[in-house]
């Protein structure tokens, strides 16, 4: 595990190493299970790696390396269990991650493994009954602390937390990881206008703009562009970057807060690092191999991927 304070001079090397690990682990998992959220790993790997390696001020994990069994849903007399411990102890000066794109849970778990926050044995529990390592992550899943699976709710919840932390005088920042599809939802825009109005500049949202959603290409479903100018018109500080370039990804977050929430639009390729994925366009949301030959081809690709 690395943070801004402990990173080496070659932090971009670390980011690339973690990103390669994320792709390999998610691909390996997808081959073993004949299905997985593969394109999400392709698009998000550098962003998640940059967040964990370079940007977020997190303490070491305080959660068990192998995630515990699901303790049950929250109810009277049973406090909610969250997976926040994998991102370190909550502390006034520490940052927090609010993971909105919960269909990217598999790449997130892979990131936790690659950064030493979770055991690779933890991934064996993925989508197993009674496990917290759920396919679509919820607040009890490793690395998560909010329930956002409906999509469009996490940015608002993070806003409430940012406000509460400001009332307490805490200095930690709020990192939000979102998908571009969430900008089709009205609540996201309600959230942006509220963050701007209440000057919640501890929020930095990274958006995976991979142009893909469940039905296929976003431009065939409901276009959200021009996203940068729309967000700027709402009053946010917005930077568009190449989502596979760690230096570009890190630069906007290193600007001092200026009263505005920051949104980093990470433009990504949902097939990045896995050329075989190109043939599956435009349906990339969830990969299930068409036949054994395709599965074998992906397994061959995995063997050829650099470490």
């Amino acid at each position: 595990m690395q943070s801004a304070a402990t990173s080496t001079n070659n932090w971009t090397d670390d980011v690339h190493r973690v990103a390669r690990g994320i792709r390999r682990r998610v691909l390996d998992h997808t081959i073993r299970n004949n299905g997985g959220y593969l394109s999400q790993a392709c698009s998000s790997a550098e962003t998640l790696a940059t967040l964990y390696v370079r940007l977020m001020n997190l303490g070491p994990s305080v959660a068990p390396p192998v995630p515990p069994a699901f303790p049950g849903v929250p109810k009277a007399g049973r406090r909610a269990y969250t997976g926040a411990g994998y991102n370190g102890e909550h502390a006034p000066e520490r940052d927090r991650l609010y993971f909105s794109a919960v269909h990217y849970a598999l790449p997130l778990y892979a990131t936790l493994i690659e950064t030493g926050r979770m055991s690779e044995d933890g991934l064996r529990q993925f989508n197993q009954d009674g496990s917290t390592v759920e396919m679509i992550g919820a607040e009890h899943s490793p690395g998560l602390e909010l329930t956002g699976g409906s999509l469009g709710q996490t940015l608002s919840q993070a806003g409430g937390i940012a406000l509460a932390r400001r009332l307490r005088g805490e200095s930690g920042r709020q990192w939000v990881y979102m998908s571009d599809g969430e900008f089709q939802s009205g609540q996201t825009w309600e959230a942006v206008q509220a963050l701007v109005y209440h000057r919640l500049d501890s929020i930095v949202a990274y958006v995976d703009v991979n142009g893909q959603q469940c039905d296929g290409k976003m431009t065939d479903v409901m276009t959200i562009e021009p996203l940068q100018s729309r967000l700027e018109a709402f009053g946010a500080r917005v930077v568009s970057v190449d989502g596979h370039d760690p230096e570009q990804l890190a630069a906007p977050a290193e600007q001092a807060p200026d009263g505005r929430p920051t949104v980093v639009l990470a433009y990504t390729n949902p097939c990045q690092g896995m050329p075989l994925m190109e043939a599956r366009r435009p349906k990339l949301h969830y990969v299930r191999f068409k036949d054994e030959a395709e599965r074998t081809a992906f397994a061959d690709m995995l063997r050829g991927m650099p470490r």
């Binding site: 109810k75 608002s156 409430g160 406000l163 509460a164 109005y197």
Partner: protein, 335 residues
């Protein structure tokens, strides 16, 4: 009868004086939901969220996770209809102590179907972890906040504003899970809630004069619905049970009572006075109560049905309606 105005507005200011952890969220209905005095008294604890309820509810969940207690105020319909998904995932699932105050229940507004909350109790009762309350008078409103704040999880309060009667003694505070026993009797059990309790009281003298013996309870806790006094009342009523609510008969007090009676094996008739599975429209409260059969006369008809007799009670026997101008000066706006 004593009539008070802006009860919640004044009470919230005094109650919150020593509670810095309590904040108020408003959705552009600040004076309409009686939080204007709070805003003026504690501007640093008042947050305007605009006409954007989905964000407001998720925001409230975020605040509540951090030990801040959000008191969300808007019209009830904008809470449970507009932001139901957000309440379910951002508040109810994690069992967070968000306090929702929903105004304009049922016939209390001439604002029409878009403003009249007729199925809020049904919707909110069906959410796990949710506590569901309804107030019926000024004393309920004045004494509600301590018990609400003692609840571990989220609370939805079906709230009243403006000019309110004081039906219950000031020294008998609102208690969660405890109905107020208004009269004791053996023929019938009458469970009324919200503004229907005041309406039922209008028929009390006439019914008593005809020798009808009624166990009348004012029920203010819709969930949990585990009050032993209610169970006792429905079990011991010889001729049957009447529920009376300013709400659809599907999912509110009438339904909860039916479920309770079925569970207890109480094999007596139940008449659910309430909105019979249809929308309201924009008109005055007295007009709507008469049109939809929520008034004292409707209660008398239900009693007659259960007793199989004509009690000979006419409009003149029912106490004078508490006349209330739709555009009363006590209201912030004509909604």
């Amino acid at each position: 009868m004593e009539i008070l105005s802006k009860v919640h507005a004044r009470n919230l200011v005094s109650w919150a004086a020593d509670k810095p952890e309590v904040v108020v969220l408003s959705a552009d209905l600040t004076s309409s939901t009686e939080i204007d005095l709070f805003r003026d008294a504690y501007p640093a604890r008042f947050f305007s969220m605009g006409m954007a309820e989905q964000n407001m509810m998720s925001f409230a969940g975020g605040l509540a996770r951090e030990g801040v207690f959000p008191f969300v105020h808007t019209f009830a319909v904008f809470i449970y209809r507009r932001a139901y998904d957000q309440i379910a995932d951002s508040i109810a699932y994690p069992n967070l102590p968000v306090r929702m105050f929903g105004f304009l229940p049922g016939v209390t507004t001439p604002g029409g179907a878009s403003h009249q909350a007729i199925e809020d109790l049904s919707v909110m009762r069906s959410l796990p972890n949710m506590t569901v309350l309804e107030v019926g008078d000024a004393t309920d409103v004045e004494t509600l906040l301590d018990p609400v704040q003692a609840v571990e999880g989220p609370v939805y309060v079906r709230m009243l504003r403006g000019e309110l009667p004081r039906l219950f003694p000031e020294d008998e505070p609102f208690r969660i899970g405890q109905a107020r026993v208004l009269t004791r009797g053996t023929d019938l059990a009458l469970l009324s809630s919200g503004i229907c309790t005041e309406e039922a009281l209008r028929a009390a003298a006439a019914l008593e004069s005809r020798g009808v013996s009624i166990q009348h309870l004012h029920v203010s806790t819709l969930k949990p619905f585990d009050d032993e006094a209610v169970a006792e009342a429905v079990s011991s009523a010889r001729k049957g049970v009447i529920t009376m609510e300013n709400h659809t008969v599907l999912g509110g007090l009438g339904t909860a009572t039916a479920e309770l009676m079925a569970g207890l094996g109480v094999g007596r008739p139940l008449i659910r006075v309430g909105i019979q599975d249809e929308f309201l429209h924009g008109a005055s409260r007295p007009h709507l109560m008469k049109e939809y059969g929520l008034d004292a006369a409707a209660l008398v008809r239900a009693v007659e049905t259960l007793l199989h007799q004509d009690l000979g009670i006419g409009e003149g026997d029912l106490a004078a309606v508490r006349l209330e101008n739709v555009h009363s000066a006590a209201k912030a706006e004509a909604l």
